[in-house]
């Protein structure tokens, strides 16, 4: 494995992640204003010295809202992915390790869920749960689970036939040891890669749910919601749409690029 930062995609992705990460971790302290503070005199303004990225319909500072929205947006993506990856990995590993009918049954059910498009699945779940950030996160996690289970399973299956695993079986190792020490550490590569890329999907789905009114709710500063609220004013102050829109795209792109670079660096065949 070479460092993923060696390649241009990795470098650009890493840089984007750094920016997004700083915003997510320190955004609220970097923000020049209270993100909810009204400034009725300067509504719907473009960038100015006082408000670097302009103001929204209530005269709230867009930069401050963007910075405050970074944690919820980014951690939404990461949280949803982590939950989905954890659940999916457990299911996939069980299927991959157990084999036989357990595998068949689990995979048939997984196939069933995979037949429902992600966004549709998320919508169904979020409607049951009733909207809101936490519920949306859970819904995205649930929607990710079958796909991750499939990936985890195939990672496990590809590792399971490696000779060092066969060696462990031949040695008479316990299943727990084989899964925990021989299979999982080596199967984690593709799972981590997939998870990194999926963070970008999660961010986009989260933003989309916000846009559809099912995700984050006002007065949250989540970026998708910012775009949704701004659409009404997009002709009066395009910055309101453009700024959070670009922020979402950059965050998603960062995870995407970095995930690809990570994959390339793990996969010797494609790293040349």
């Amino acid at each position: 494995m070479t460092s993923p930062f060696r390649s241009y995609p990795g470098m650009v992705g890493g840089l984007l992640l750094l920016i997004v990460g700083v915003a997510a971790l320190f955004g609220p302290w970097l923000a020049p204003y209270d993100p909810q503070q009204f400034h009725p005199q300067v509504r719907l303004q473009g960038p100015s010295a006082a408000h670097w990225l302009g103001t929204d319909q209530f005269g709230r500072d867009i930069l401050s809202r963007l910075l405050h929205g970074a944690p919820s947006t980014v951690f939404f993506g990461i949280g949803a992915t982590l939950l989905g990856v954890a659940a999916g990995t457990i299911i996939g590993v069980i299927a991959g390790v157990a084999g036989r009918w357990v595998d068949s049954v689990i995979m048939r059910i997984i196939d069933g869920f995979l037949a429902v498009p992600d966004l549709l699945f998320t919508l169904l779940i979020v409607t049951i749960l009733g909207g809101g950030m936490g519920h949306a996160m859970l819904a995205v996690a649930v929607a990710f689970t079958p796909g991750m289970a499939r990936i985890a399973r195939s990672a496990v299956l590809s590792i399971r036939t490696r000779e060092y695993v066969l060696a462990a079986v031949a040695r008479g190792e316990s299943s727990v040891y084989i899964v925990g020490r021989e299979v999982m550490p080596n199967a984690m590569g593709p799972i981590i890669v997939e998870a990194t890329i999926r963070v970008s999907f999660a961010i986009m789905i989260g933003a989309t749910l916000g846009f559809l009114g099912l995700g984050a709710q006002p007065p949250s500063t989540e970026w998708g919601l910012m775009v949704a609220e701004a659409r009404q004013f997009m002709f009066r102050n395009p910055w309101m749409v453009v700024v959070p829109g670009i922020a979402i795209a950059l965050a998603a792109m960062g995870f995407n690029l970095f995930g690809d670079a990570l994959r390339d660096s793990l996969d010797v065949r494609r790293s040349h």
């Binding site: 909810q36 503070q37 009204f38 009725p40 509504r43 319909q57 209530f58 005269g59 409607t127 009733g130 909207g131 809101g132 009114g213 099912l214 709710q217 006002p218 007065p219 609220e229 659409r231 009404q232 004013f233 997009m234 002709f235 009066r236």
Partner: protein
């Protein structure tokens, strides 16, 4: 480029039956109406049903207003006008009303309109097994009687002076007897009315197309050959589409877009003051709103002018917690409630909350204005000690979980035709949507009395007293009244909307292509 603002108030309302042609409401009528053409109207909410008995969608009303007629119809001056009924008389005590039907009216399928159809329709409305929205304003009707083929008499259990308003209820349009007695579910998707237009295409996902009713009972009308209702679920897309000239009329304009649309070339933007309002629901059977001082404190912590300025973009009027707007005949001017967070804080302390209150305000996300007002109130009320956590949610979740159940949420109501209907909708103890737990026997008695009183002066006194009670107890915070906004291309003549947004007079609209 032209902007019209229509202000009307205080017109005489009574039992006077004005026969004849409806007054033209167009303001910039240039020359004589010309026949022909198709009017394309865009709207952003779905026409989900044509069920005239239950529908309530903003875009559904114009459709049934074109397809169906009622006995009476609310006119632009907020008075009942003749529609299928040429004239009507009330008994002295206002317990019996006789409506004289227009002769020679036929349904779209060619069958003649008779008193039997009217009776069947109102009996269906009153049938508790048939969902119908108009029942709430007709509860006092005991019996409907077909005196002869063209005469219908309503017998009331209690005196009710506003019955011609009730018969003008948008959901009380006349169906044919055959339809009522047949499979009623067919009115969901088909329509056989007596209105100026006939239903041609109904595709709820896309377009509803209506064509001229050649046999409309007013000679020469309608002017248009056809009307198309185009659905645009995305507001931004709808605005763009209207501005690029692909439709003739934009049914509802958002406040945010109004200035831009009004200043666009070739566009007439229309702004009609209305009694449409946001109300902050505060349940009074539990703390903290069980104490009127808390409600008053919150009322003082709301900067109403700022709300009008930034949420309504100035397109509305400040409200002072009276749910009646100045359009109502018996409205009383209520004193202005100034924004005074310091006084509010003091009042809150006096009510036993010196450290302020933490509370969650729920707002449905539809329309967006609910959330916007909630967020603004959160900011305004903060210095007064109200630490409000705004919880916005999808409308369906709100309907299922909060509406009529929560203790602090944003309501949003359209204008009702009468004081009585307004009070009975929300405020009387047996109101249809009693969501405040404000039970006031004195108020109930006043409303009962007002309903039975015919003399306008007496009614004015009674309703004034009722309004005083509302202002005293602050069952709701009503921060503003929203103007109704619409827009048309400048070649559209006669397009207008009413404060209550239920009747449209599209038969008067014509296209000036010259």
């Amino acid at each position: 480029m032209t902007e019209f603002t229509v202000y009307r108030r205080g017109f005489m309302v009574g039992l006077a039956a004005t026969a004849g042609i409806l007054p033209g409401v167009s303001l910039a009528q240039a020359g004589d109406p010309v026949r022909g053409g198709t009017l394309r109207i865009s709207h952003s909410t779905r026409i989900a049903t044509l069920n005239v008995l239950t529908l309530s969608g903003p875009a559904e009303y114009p459709v049934i207003d074109m397809v169906y007629s009622g006995l009476t119809r609310i006119g632009p001056d907020n008075t009942p006008l003749p529609d299928l009924a040429e004239s009507w008389e009330a008994s002295e005590d206002a317990t019996s009303f006789t409506f004289n039907l227009r002769p020679g009216v036929t349904f779209h399928d060619g069958s003649p309109l008779t008193a039997a159809d009217v009776v069947a329709t109102f009996e269906a409305i009153l049938d508790p097994d048939i969902p119908s929205a108009a029942r709430a304003v007709l509860t006092m009707v005991e019996r409907i009687e077909a005196v002869d083929d063209l005469t219908v008499r309503f017998h009331l259990s209690t005196p009710f002076a506003d019955l011609p308003f009730s018969t003008a209820h948008a959901n009380a349009r006349i169906l044919s007897k055959a339809v009522v007695e047949g499979d009623l579910s067919q009115i969901e998707t088909t329509a056989n009315g007596t209105g100026p237009f006939k239903l041609e295409t109904y595709d709820s996902a896309r377009i509803v197309r209506l064509v001229r009713n050649e046999n409309y009972f007013i000679e020469g009308k309608p002017y248009l050959d056809a009307v198309e209702m185009h659905l645009f679920p995305d507001l931004a897309a709808e605005t763009v589409n209207f501005l690029s000239g692909d439709v003739d009329v934009m049914l509802n304009v958002q406040q945010a877009d109004y200035d831009r649309i009004a200043s666009a070339p070739g566009v007439n933007a229309l702004r009609v003051p209305s009694g449409r309002y946001i109300n902050v629901v505060m349940r009074q059977d539990q703390p903290p709103f069980d104490d009127v001082r808390v409600r008053r404190a919150l009322a003082m912590a709301v900067d109403r002018q700022l709300l009008v300025d930034i949420v309504l973009e100035g397109l509305g009027r400040v409200g002072n917690d009276n749910i009646l707007s100045p359009e109502f005949q018996f409205y009383i001017d209520s004193p202005e409630i100034p924004y005074d967070p310091a006084a509010a804080r003091a009042l809150l302390a006096e009510a036993g909350y010196p450290d302020g209150i933490d509370i969650t305000l729920v707002a449905s996300n539809r329309p967006a204005i609910r959330g916007q007002v909630a967020i603004a109130i959160r900011q305004m009320a903060e210095p007064a000690g109200f630490r409000i956590n705004v919880e916005s949610m999808p409308h369906d979740t709100y309907l299922a979980n909060v509406w009529m159940q929560g203790n602090f949420y944003m309501g949003y109501w359209g204008m009702q035709p009468t004081e009585d209907a307004t009070f009975r909708l929300l405020l009387t103890s047996d109101a249809s949507f009693q969501d405040t737990a404000w039970f006031n026997a004195e108020f109930d008695a006043l409303v009962e009395l007002g309903q039975a009183t015919v003399d306008p002066a007496e009614r004015a006194r009674i309703y004034a007293e009722a309004q005083e009670l509302i202002l005293r107890d602050v069952p709701y915070i009503v921060p503003f009244f929203e103007d109704v906004l619409t827009a048309s291309r400048s070649h559209v003549e006669g397009w207008t909307v009413q404060p209550i947004s239920r009747v449209f007079f599209i038969e008067d609209v014509w296209l000036n292509r010259s």
